[in-house]
Each structure stands twice: as structure tokens, then as C-alpha cells.
């Protein structure tokens, strides 16, 4: 179908965009990559009166590292993040996960900020940002506000962003050499939204796991740290058989899977448990070569 009518505004600066957003608030929608908003308009599940197109706002797509922090602009396109050497070095989890995000043409337009603001439960990037302990920077006419990724996602398609805020950038702690990351998901087809996916980060000290962060996608309404599962992996070498079994069982006890969809909750749990084991084993014994599946 065709979208309903709307007014179209294309601010040339961030200040102008924030001004317009403040004025139109809940009647307006930000148009970033349009790879989720345009389908919603075409299917008429969204009917904003005004579209504020942020594609002309300079600097919003910047990707850069300063010291121990990698900053990703809110309008950084999926494919630019995916192919960035800086990201591959400082946040390799994103590089691996982005391979699973949609398809080439959609990654050419779709943006990091759009994905995080939308908070689709099956999206890869929200779960990754929780796993990476990233900070989300929201801008409004009043200034900037920093929100830890763990507190940003509030539920199904729900975040703490206010209607007058733009997701301006995301600050990701750059990974030291003592960190390792793992990611995998199961989708019906390459690039489809996942039925379940797992992101894992571990830091090792003298061959034992000293810190661990795990988050899931596609299983619960929104991503969060799986603390009970993380505990099972601490203070031991990564990937012992006993710890994997313990982690899988903690995962089952912790998960509150999405109900009422065509994918039965029990099935999502089953995939998540299997993926968790697979990801941990692959991290413990990394094989050369890019793809193992």
C-alpha cells in the first residue's frame, strides 16, 4: 500500500531537528533509514502527521574512536558499521552480529539509532548494546542525557527515549585484548528476524573468566543482562562441560519468553539453550575461518 499523508521536514542541523521535534513531539516521527518506518507507513500501522527527516543533519553518522571509547553516530548506517575497521577492532561483537541484520540493500539505509529506538525484540543491535555495556546518548533542546543500554530498553518496542529526543550517538567501551565475544542466532532465512539469538562477552584473567555479560534477542520482550547465567561461567576456564550445563539450566529458569506468537515459547527457550552452548564452545575453541554455519 501507499503511505498516508504527512508533512515532510528536512532540517539541516541537529539544533534545527531538535527544535522541530520539540515543537511537533508526539505527532512527529523521525525518519532515519526508513527501513522500519516506511513499511509501517505503507502498511498504515503508523500515521504520524509530520516526518522529520534527519538524513541531511551533518555528523550524525560519524564513527570514531577516542581513547577507550568507540562512538557511533545515531545515523550510522548498518553497512558502514559492519564494514568499519575501527568497529571490527574495538567492538567486534557488532561486526559479527551485523552480518545477521537484514539484507544488503536494507543495511545500506538502515541505521543504528533507528534500530535501537525501534527496540524490536528480535533485533540484533539492542541485545549487542546491552552485552557491550554501551551508553546511549539522547539529545533534546535541553541538552544531552546518557542512558546505560541496560536501562534503555523497557519492553516490546519501548525505550526510555522521550518524544522530543533524538538518539544522537552510542558510546561503546572499546574492548581490550583480554575480552572475547561470541554471537549466533537462528532465523528461518539469512537476514530474517531471529527466532532466538545470543550475545556473549567475557574477560579472562589467568585463563579464568573474570567478567561476563550475556544478553539474548528474539526470546524476551526486550534485551537484558542474564545475570544468573553469567554467574555460572565466572572463575573457571571458559567452556567447561559442567559450566555449560549449569548455564543452560540457569537460562531456562531465567527466561520469560514472548508468548502468543507463532513460535512457541518452549521452542524459543530450546533454541536459546542450544545457541548458548554453541557460542560458548566456539569462543573457547575458536576455529579459523569466518563462518562455521
Amino acid at each position: 500500500m501507499k503511505p498516508p499523508r504527512f508533512d515532510y521536514l528536512r532540517p539541516q542541523t541537529l539544533a534545527e531537528a531538535l527544535e522541530l521535534l520539540d515543537r511537533h513531539g508526539g505527532d512527529a516521527a523521525i525518519l532515519a533509514g526508513g527501513q522500519s518506518l516506511m513499511p509501517m507507513l505503507n502498511l498504515r500501522v503508523a500515521q504520524p502527521a509530520v516526518l522529520i527527516d534527519i538524513n541531511a543533519v551533518p555528523e550524525l553518522d560519524r564513527i570514531g574512536r577516542s581513547g577507550d571509547r568507540l562512538s557511533l553516530g545515531g545515523r550510522a548506517r548498518h553497512n558502514d558499521v559492519f564494514r568499519s575497521a575501527e568497529v571490527a577492532q574495538a567492538a567486534p561483537l557488532l561486526t559479527v552480529a551485523l552480518e545477521h541484520v537484514a539484507h544488503e540493500a536494507i543495511r545500506n539505509r538502515g541505521t543504528l539509532g533507528g534500530s535501537l529506538a525501534l527496540a524490536d525484540p528480535a533485533a540484533e543491535l539492542p541485545a549487542c548494546m546491552v552485552c557491550l555495556d554501551a551508553e546511549i546518548v539522547a539529545a533534546s533542546v535541553k541538552g544531552e542525557r546518557r542512558i546505560p543500554a541496560g536501562a534503555f530498553f523497557q519492553g516490546l518496542y519501548t525505550t526510555t527515549l522521550e518524544p522530543n529526543e533524538i538518539l544522537a550517538r552510542v558510546d561503546v567501551p572499546a574492548a581490550g585484548t583480554d575480552w572475547r565475544f561470541g554471537f549466533d542466532e537462528v532465523a528461518r532465512r539469512r537476514g530474517d528476524f531471529a527466532m532466538a539469538g545470543v550475545a556473549v562477552a567475557v574477560r579472562e584473567e589467568s585463563k579464568a573468566v573474570a567478567e561476563c555479560r550475556i544478553s539474548l534477542l528474539g526470546v524476551e520482550m526486550s534485551p537484558r543482562r542474564m545475570e544468573a547465567v553469567e554467574m555460572c561461567l565466572l572463575d573457571a576456564p571458559l567452556g567447561t562441560a559442567a559450566n555449560i550445563v549449569a548455564a543452560q539450566s540457569a537460562l531456562r529458569d531465567t527466561l520469560e519468553p514472548i508468548e502468543g506468537s507463532e513460535i512457541p515459547p518452549e521452542y524459543r527457550i530450546q533454541i536459546a539453550r542450544e545457541l548458548l552452548a554453541r557460542v560458548i564452545r566456539a569462543m573457547a575453541a575458536p576455529v579459523s575461518g569466518k563462518r562455521t554455519h
Binding site: D7, Y8, L43
Partner: protein, 166 residues
Amino acid sequence: MMASDEPTAEISCTVNGQPVRAHVPVRQSLVDFVRHGLGLTGSHVGCEHGVCGACHAVVDGRVVRGCLMLAVQVDGRTVTTIETDQPTAQMRALQDAFFERAALQCGFCTPGMILQASELLTRTAAPTRAEIRDALSGNYCRCTGYHAIVDAVETAAARLRDKAAA
């Protein structure tokens, strides 16, 4: 007919090498604009919500879903469609290989496939079959099946490599 209170905008852009100025409804998609506004019907309209890839066009060198971008958003930009009379070497090699391998039946998906595969071959000279399938995962073909299409992309890649080596 456009209703008199329909929000519209003036745009100017380059389409297949030609300067274009147009008056478009702001809610018109890029694919509807090139088809109805410019008569370039090679970009097809399948699903209108981003899943099929029939509507592909190239904007500033990148393949996009023509149904998910607005015409007003190509203001000041360069658009290329399958009709371009200056196809890249990749596009030409793909067109030949698709024809020879009969990698199309109705042809509805073909322009989108060619543009997407061309982007792949520009970036990766020797893609594996898995990489070809990944790159085309967002392009649906409802009649030919994908085997012949992957074959054709492989053949085009091999020929381009041979030419580069010669």
C-alpha cells in the same frame, strides 16, 4: 490526479545521467516516482514493505529499496536504475550471464537481482556461492528458483576476473 491539498515538494536530481526536476507528493516512493513520473518501469513494485527487492534502485552508488525511500529524499542525489545507458561492467556481465543461463522466467525480480549482484561484484571479485546467496537473500524470485541465478552471478564474476587479468 493529485488532490490540491496534497503536500508536495520540488526536487532536482540526476537519473541515469540526466538532470531531472520534478514536483512530487512528499509521500511518493522513489520507485513510484521513477515508474510513474519518469516512465522508467524497470524497477518493479512487489511488496511495498521492503521484503522482496523487486524495487531496487541505486542512489549515490548504493543499492536501496525503492519502496522504502521517498522521492523527495533523492533531491540533490544521483539515481541509477536498470535502464541506465551507462551500465557498469558488472551490470553488463550479469545481464549476459543471466540471459545465457536462463536465470529468469517472468523477469519480475531480475532488475533488482542484477543491481544487487552488481554491488556484490564491485566489492568482491570472487564471491563464494554462499556469499552470493547472502548478498541476494533480500531478493525474492518466485519462479526461476535461485540455483540458476547463483550460477549466473558466478559466471559473470569469473568473466570479469578473466577480463581484469587479460
